[in-house]
């Protein structure tokens, strides 16, 4: 009898050993029905294990993931919830191979109205890299072209993708320009430019404005963004001084598409290749699978993962003049965060 009890105890221990503990991010029943199984916010090494590994690998990966979640648990939870909310609104157009919530009732849809985004530009002025009114105005015009399907290069979209070109109907309006002299040549990417206490400039009402910081980032970075769900005080996009608007100093990156790309992230878009191998998704149904970024100005077709890459998408890494479309799936994803309960709903509610 003792042996039997001991055996059952061992069996039970083995079953529960790899179960997530209470402080882990656990999808709710609702989330499981939406299918959050491929959601990721963790390191590269873990991703390969989660995507391809055995159960033992996954168990080990969860341990590593949990260590990272402990370092920033709030952010991970917020991002999980935003993704869950987004999928609730776009799941009816979800991936055919992973059916979403098939329940009855009204199907939620992404926000359908016109969206206006006030833009506050915070410039940390370096005399060697001037930011002029012409740079600023051209950047706003480029954003309005790109987010309203008015980019003149879009006529070059291959027929394979022509029906997928989206008009996001998002208008950017210049709300304010703030300037502060700076002699710092390398601000880095630790958000120091977003804080007056670190020599930078504080954000202006980020719940109702898109804040752009223009400065010398350094280290080879053209610009960087923050996904929805991050700290409000640092919410926005940072652009290198030479890459704002039509800017001769920016070379092939001097036509304002760094801002388009980074604002895509700010609106919850991932890189089009999913930052991983073929099986790692950008969470958009109509963008092809790929296993890496494209650079320069690729000649169509560029084949990866047995399909043609959408190299002209704003969320790839090509030159400014060689990116000229968002897809309908990306548009739905951006608009989901403006729907009721969405992370940027404050921009469309008075």
């Amino acid at each position: 009898m003792k042996k039997l009890i001991f055996s059952i105890a061992i069996l039970a221990l083995a079953v529960v050993a790899c179960q997530p503990s209470s402080d882990e991010v656990v999808p709710t029943q609702e989330a499981v029905s939406i299918d959050m199984s491929d959601f990721y916010v963790h390191t590269d090494g873990d991703l390969s294990k989660l995507a391809n590994g055995s159960k033992a690998d996954k168990c080990q990966s969860m341990k590593v993931l949990n260590r990272q979640l402990k370092e920033n648990p709030g952010l991970e939870n917020r991002m999980f919830n935003i993704e869950k909310h987004t999928r609730t609104y776009i799941s009816f157009k979800g991936k055919p191979t992973k059916p979403g919530n098939g329940g009855g009732g009204t199907t939620p849809t992404p926000y359908t109205g016109a969206i206006t985004i006030p833009v506050v530009i915070n410039i940390l002025e370096d005399a060697a890299h001037p930011v002029t009114t012409a740079h600023i105005n051209s950047q706003i015009a480029i954003l309005n072209d790109d987010f309203n399907n008015q980019n003149s290069n879009t006529s070059g979209v291959p027929s394979e993708f022509a029906s997928l070109v989206a008009n996001a109907d998002i208008t950017f309006v210049l709300a304010a320009v703030n300037r502060k002299a700076s002699t710092k040549t390398t601000w880095g990417t630790n958000d120091a430019m977003k804080s007056s206490s670190q020599g930078g400039m504080d954000a202006t009402d980020p719940a109702h404005n898109l804040n752009l910081w223009i400065c010398e980032i350094g280290g080879g970075i053209l610009g960087y963004a923050q996904f929805p769900g991050g700290t409000l005080a640092t919410d926005g996009v940072v652009i290198g001084s030479d890459f704002l608007g039509e800017n001769a100093a920016g070379g092939v990156y001097g036509h304002g598409r760094t801002a388009t790309h980074e604002i895509g992230h700010w609106l919850n878009l991932r890189h089009i290749w999913g930052d991983g191998r073929c099986r790692q998704d950008d969470f958009v149904a109509d963008t092809p699978s790929s296993d890496g970024a494209n650079y320069g100005c690729p000649t169509y077709p560029t084949v990866n993962c047995k399909s043609n890459d959408m190299t002209m998408n704003y969320m790839d890494y090509t030159d400014d003049n060689c990116m000229y479309m968002f897809s309908n799936g990306q548009n739905d994803r951006m608009r989901a965060i403006f729907a009721s309960g969405g992370s940027r709903v404050s921009f469309v509610t008075p």
Binding site: D44, G219, G220, Q226, D275, Y295
Partner: protein, 138 residues
């Protein structure tokens, strides 16, 4: 004849031993980092160092002293304590530049993913040493 046989065996053993030692100290390093607007690669193979940064190329044939320094730097590294450290979250919003590190040394191979310019200190020391040998600076 016996003496000849003994000498032959000794010479053969000595030769094999030297060859083995030479092979043990062979270093091959392939490091690359890339993002939109930035491309960097460092290749060390067959005593030739090749660094490319945003299309600018620098090639250098290393001296015995330099190779000895490189061996010393690598020998100091405890690879059992090094793990890949690349934040997917930061890479996904272009906040860091992903870098791949591949080293073959003493018949062993080491592969890591790091953030460019933010490798573990002793690996970064090695990369900085190599870059300083050329005229390409960060």
């Amino acid at each position: 004849m016996k003496v000849f046989n003994i000498l032959f065996v000794l010479v053969l053993s000595f030769s094999q031993s030297c060859q083995g030692q030479e092979k043990e100290n062979t270093v091959s390093l392939d490091y690359s980092a890339r993002t939109r607007g930035f491309q960097y690669s460092l290749l060390l193979k067959n005593n030739v160092l090749n660094i490319t940064k945003n299309g600018e190329i620098s090639t250098l044939e290393l001296s015995k002293e330099q190779l000895s320094d490189i061996n010393t730097l690598i020998s100091k590294i405890d690879f059992t304590k090094i793990e890949s450290e690349l934040s997917e979250e930061k890479a996904a919003v272009d906040r860091v530049i992903p870098a791949k590190f591949n080293l073959q040394f003493n018949k062993k191979e080491y592969n890591y993913n790091f953030e460019h310019n933010n490798s573990p200190s002793n690996l970064q020391e090695l990369l900085n040493y190599l870059e300083n040998l050329t005229n390409l600076k960060e």
